[in-house]
């Protein structure tokens, strides 16, 4: 953790897909142990920005990044940056629940095994703790050896959150984590985020403005690759400083 209380900071971040500029001059500071929401219309760059923080954009051919991105105190785009270590520190939850086609237990043990974080005899304990943290333990304690693919969608998404917790990430990135879930399950995941933010910094990309309003402490509004406005969620939704922001949150475009 950094001294400043800032988990992620970007400075004049530009990102190009080939000749197309997807992000322009992003300056953003994500505070620790809060939920920060990124909102904006489709194609505004919010998911791209999220995938800068764990460098998942590197998997796409022809991506170029300039500017600085600090996670904690580390410049993650510095030459020689350790990507595996970065992704250990910055966990990600995807739009569609994507548990591995393994047992519930092995899904959570995967991160431990990959990063050799604990001796095998401690796995039971760590798996239990991770499942407790996402409130799945009571439902799944007798189903640890079942395939994760047999779970309900909501349980799968909780499991996807649980499997990054043993890595003790500093940041949890969530890319529209509720878009495949029904409204009840969505509320449950939002409640879970409130619980998790006591220990983790959460950045969530969402299409759903009500979700941002309900679940986040800070909101950034993005449009055409630019961060138009960033502030506390209460202020963004009641007194937006930019006309563009106001038009978007009042539903005039989207």
């Amino acid at each position: 953790m950094s001294m400043s209380g800032i988990a992620i900071a970007t400075q004049r971040l530009d990102l190009f897909y080939g000749d197309f500029q997807a992000l322009t001059a992003i300056d953003l500071q994500v505070p620790e142990r809060e939920v920060t929401a990124l909102i904006g219309p489709s194609g505004c760059g919010k998911s791209t920005l999220l995938r800068v923080f764990n460098r998942m954009n590197d998997l796409i051919d022809g991506v170029r990044v300039s500017g600085r991105v600090l996670v904690g105190d580390e410049d993650i785009y510095a030459p020689g940056a350790d990507l595996l270590r970065l992704r250990e520190k910055v966990g990600m939850v995807f739009q569609r629940p994507n548990p591995f086609p393994l047992t519930v237990f092995d899904n959570i043990a995967f991160g431990l095994a990959v990063h050799k974080l604990a001796p095998r005899r401690e796995y039971d304990m760590i798996v239990e703790q991770a499942l407790r943290d996402v409130l799945l333990w009571d439902d799944l304690k007798d189903k640890l050896q079942r395939s994760a693919l047999t779970l309900s969608l909501e349980q799968q998404q909780r499991l996807c959150i649980a499997r990054v917790l043993p890595l003790k990430p500093q940041v949890l990135l969530m890319d529209e984590p509720c878009s495949a879930l029904d409204p009840i399950a969505t509320l449950h995941i939002e409640e879970l985020m409130q619980k998790l933010k006591q220990e983790y910094t959460i950045v969530i990309v969402t299409h759903n403005m009500q979700q941002a309003a309900r679940a986040s402490d800070r909101t950034g509004f993005m449009y055409l690759g630019k961060l138009i406005e960033f502030g506390t969620t209460a202020r963004i939704f009641t007194q937006p400083a930019q006309e563009l922001t106001e038009n978007y949150i009042s539903g005039r475009f989207g």
Partner: protein
């Protein structure tokens, strides 16, 4: 007849024609099996099933003839296991390479090459095995003949490889991208992702690929007959000549008397082969279905 009724009649005819073709293909398999049974079973009027399956001597034209196929079963088993030991690791590794690592153009080239390998007639592979591999093995191990079980295994490994690689590659490619993405986002290396997640997810398909490859090896006749030396004795090492079930049928069918005991014994061997391949295909099918679920 009104146009409407005509159309209905046409539909009915087409439907029944397709049904009939489906039924016929099943009937043909059943008929082949019944024919095998009828021709083969007459052997067991004079011979017990135990003596046939576990008898150690195959002297079909001596007097009295002896029809013990244990040496032939051992021959088939040895050649098949040897071929599997060579082709499975290489085939699976090749499939992983093509599906996960090879860049675009190389990938297409390799896939085309593998398909070409599948298209080479078995007699050509047998020929190459006989004139190049055989002498090489003879010199390498300093043994009297290069036509051995090992030669057969290597030759057959070439024939199993295309089946194993192409089916396993399909199974690996079919693993959803999101699994890989999730593993990489957790900081797994490319290898950890490939081995722990992708290969695990594709495992049923890979088992099926191996089974079908082995099925091909057990049923193969021509190439194996050309390179294994065809001595019907129980081998004590992989460097000895062996004779397989298939090669025995192919080599002796022409000289047996139709309706005689030798003739029946060859058909009984056919039944054994049929049962073996049926079981292997059954297992492969089971795994293929499981992978689709």
């Amino acid at each position: 007849m009104t146009p409407n009724r005509l159309r209905k009649l046409k539909e009915w005819l087409i439907e029944k024609a397709i049904l009939l073709s489906g039924v016929f293909s099943v009937i043909f398999v059943l008929l082949i099996f019944l024919f095998l049974l009828r021709e083969g079973f007459s052997l067991f009027r004079g011979e017990s099933v135990g003596d046939f399956l576990f008898g150690k001597s195959w002297y079909p034209i001596s007097d009295p003839p002896r029809f013990g196929i244990l040496p032939l079963i051992m021959g088939s088993l040895l050649v098949t296991l040897g071929a599997a030991a060579i082709s499975v690791p290489i085939g699976i590794a090749a499939a992983l390479y093509i599906a996960e690592i090879a860049p675009g153009r190389l990938k297409e080239g390799l896939k085309a090459g593998i398909e070409l390998l599948a298209a080479i007639p078995s007699v050509v592979i047998g020929f190459i095995g006989m004139i190049t591999l055989g002498p090489w093995i003879k010199n390498l191990f300093n043994i009297p003949t290069g036509l051995t079980a090992l030669t057969g295994s290597v030759t057959l490994a070439f024939m199993a490889m295309p089946t194993i690689v192409s089916i396993a590659e399909d199974a690996i490619t079919a693993v959803p991208r999101q699994y890989r993405e999730a593993a990489i986002a957790m900081g797994a290396t490319k290898w950890q992702t490939t081995w722990r997640i992708v290969a695990r997810a594709a495992r049923p398909g890979m088992v099926a690929a191996v089974m079908l490859g082995i099925g091909r090896v057990i049923g193969e006749t021509m190439a194996v007959m050309m390179v294994t030396g065809n001595a019907a004795m129980i081998p004590s090492s992989i460097l000895q000549p062996v004779r397989t079930l298939t090669a025995t049928i192919a080599a002796e069918m022409g000289e047996s008397v139709q309706g005689g005991a030798h003739y029946a014994a060859l058909f009984a061997i056919g039944i054994v082969l049929f049962v073996i391949t049926f079981l292997i295909n059954g297992v492969a099918d089971l795994y293929l279905h499981r992978s689709r679920r």
